[in-house]
Symmetry: C2
């Protein structure tokens, strides 16, 4: 087990490296941190830390930099979550309060998070899986064409065009709408299939085809849209790390464009509490040089989606985690209000 001081040395190394972005040596360490021991002692500690794989040197006669494993230890044991200052909190609230609809909330959140952390922000739209149905609307567009509109409790609206096999009267359609709504409003998406299963039977023979196809379109929409959408912002922040350019930035930009990858990434994060994935802990290869800080947010006590940031492994973890958590909290509040 590592002694108290060695952990302290690791913490100092991480802090200095994050600040300066340069390998940190024993002498600089003793000067900037009151460790109470000489550089020589620190050197011994560093050698031990290197043996254990927490730090590494890019080349002989250079200082040490933390490894992924080192950051992991730092995050787990050494770093707290740095709370935001109250002006910052106020700024968040003010910024988010002006949102007019869901797109706007998500858009503002992304910008806010990118600005606060100075990193790439990723915000998932509130998930439909855990959402409930607020309303289903059926609009006759032509004699044999109906538009299906699904409204969720998170304010999301999805629409689908349905071509009917046989024309349907407005009355039948209104009937279907009424019955459909009485069954599914307020219910969770997952429960809907069962709830509407027997609905076609209660209609006249001639309308059954249409009813069936409307229902199956509804179910399709529920499933399809469970593949969530997300919004990204702050990619310009990637250019702050000119060092490993462009070897690093390219695969990251590519990964960011593949929303599927990001959704999987967020999906892997714990539902509650904060998840930090460091460097190679990320399954996707393009993100092996980055860390992901993600957290769930929701309108109630339950998380309906996740948000987070993607940045270099050498990030300010306490600060980033603080910002991510705070933003998630406020977004949750905003969603609960609307």
């Amino acid at each position: 087990m590592l002694s108290e001081r060695r952990l302290e040395v690791l913490r100092a190394i991480v802090q200095d490296y994050v600040g300066t972005e340069e390998p940190v040596g024993s002498k600089a360490l003793t000067e900037r941190h009151r460790l109470g021991v000489s550089p020589a002692t620190v050197r011994n500690d560093m050698a031990a830390l290197e043996d254990e794989g927490f730090i590494a040197q890019p080349h002989t006669s250079a200082g040490r930099i933390p490894t992924d494993k080192g950051y992991r230890l730092f995050v787990d044991k050494l770093a707290g979550v740095k709370p935001l200052s109250s002006p910052e909190r106020r700024a968040i609230q003010n910024f988010l309060d002006g949102a007019v609809d869901l797109d706007d909330v998500v858009g503002r959140t992304v910008r806010l998070l990118a600005q606060l952390t100075r990193q790439v922000a990723v915000v998932q739209y509130p998930s439909l899986t855990r959402s409930t149905v607020r309303h289903v609307e059926l609009l006759p567009l032509a004699t044999a064409r109906v538009m299906l509109v699904l409204i969720t409790d998170t304010g999301r609206v999805e629409q689908r065009m349905v071509d009917c096999p046989t024309p349907i009267t407005e009355d039948s359609l209104a009937d279907l709408r009424a019955r459909l709504n009485s069954r599914v409003v307020g219910r969770r998406f997952a429960d809907v299939p069962q709830l509407v299963q027997d609905l076609p039977e209660s209609f006249e023979q001639e309308d059954r085809g249409t009813v069936s196809i409307v229902l199956s379109t509804l179910l399709e929409t529920l499933v399809e849209e469970t593949e969530e959408r997300l919004m990204i912002g702050g990619t310009a922040n990637l250019t702050r790390f000119v060092h490993d350019f462009p070897l690093t930035i390219r695969p990251v930009l590519e990964a960011l464009e593949e929303h599927v990858v990001l959704l999987k990434l967020l999906g892997e994060a714990k539902d509650s509490g904060m998840t930090v994935r460091i460097g190679h802990e990320n399954a996707h290869e393009g993100l092996n040089a980055t860390s992901v800080v993600a957290v769930g947010y929701g309108s109630g006590d339950e998380a309906v989606a996740k948000l987070g940031v993607v940045g270099p492994t050498r990030m300010d973890y306490p600060g980033t985690m603080g910002a991510v958590r705070a933003v998630a909290r406020y977004v949750g509040q905003i969603l609960a209000e609307s």
Copy 2:
């Protein structure tokens, strides 16, 4: 006026430079292009072209590179639009045909365009300004709360929450919906305000407040959503230009995140025909090292929105213009069908 051969020399310089990304000299030119004259002659021509500001040398004893003015001449006089190969055309169609809704169409278009041109693609959502109303729906959510849903002929759906000053019966609401739709369906957004102006008067005193607020919300939505949205893709392609890294890429990424800037950019493009803005012709400073190729697209004969690509001034203009035009055409078709 420049002689025929000098124009030919400029064309050769542009082509070579776009291909190699390196300053091109007189000797290389005569070797790669059958100009029929010696390097010395080409040198004289190049000196003349430099005097006129069409080309420049980064430093003495280096080859020449085209200036913005040079590219401008190239695009205006020397370059045609390179049509796509028929396999490419088929690929476009296949790729776009699978789209299920508007978001999907736009998303696919962006990916397609980015892939074809290997540059950053920007696609504006079909504009509401020129759109017509397909349907307006009013859904009672609570006793004094109504959801307003607006559906456009381009398949876009917008929703707004309306808090009523006084409760309204479902019958009155249905009445309002019916009257509203009979007036505005099929009409252009711009005409709607006039068409609904006198509507509140025809309602009972107790409902007028609600009717008014519903109408004003509708008008607000029309105006607000005229500020268009857009989608961006292919930012990873920016890393292909490692040369001017990261001095160039940073402001570009920043500009791309400011959708307002991009919308203005697209707005400046001509409604019909293709617009090419080269380097400093772009008002936004961050885009001074890039060129923008934009074109309008639409479901009918009229353009409802624009799409285009952003790339380095040293881009393959004929190829890019060909791809942009082809994609715009197919997207127009897809929209017309749905």
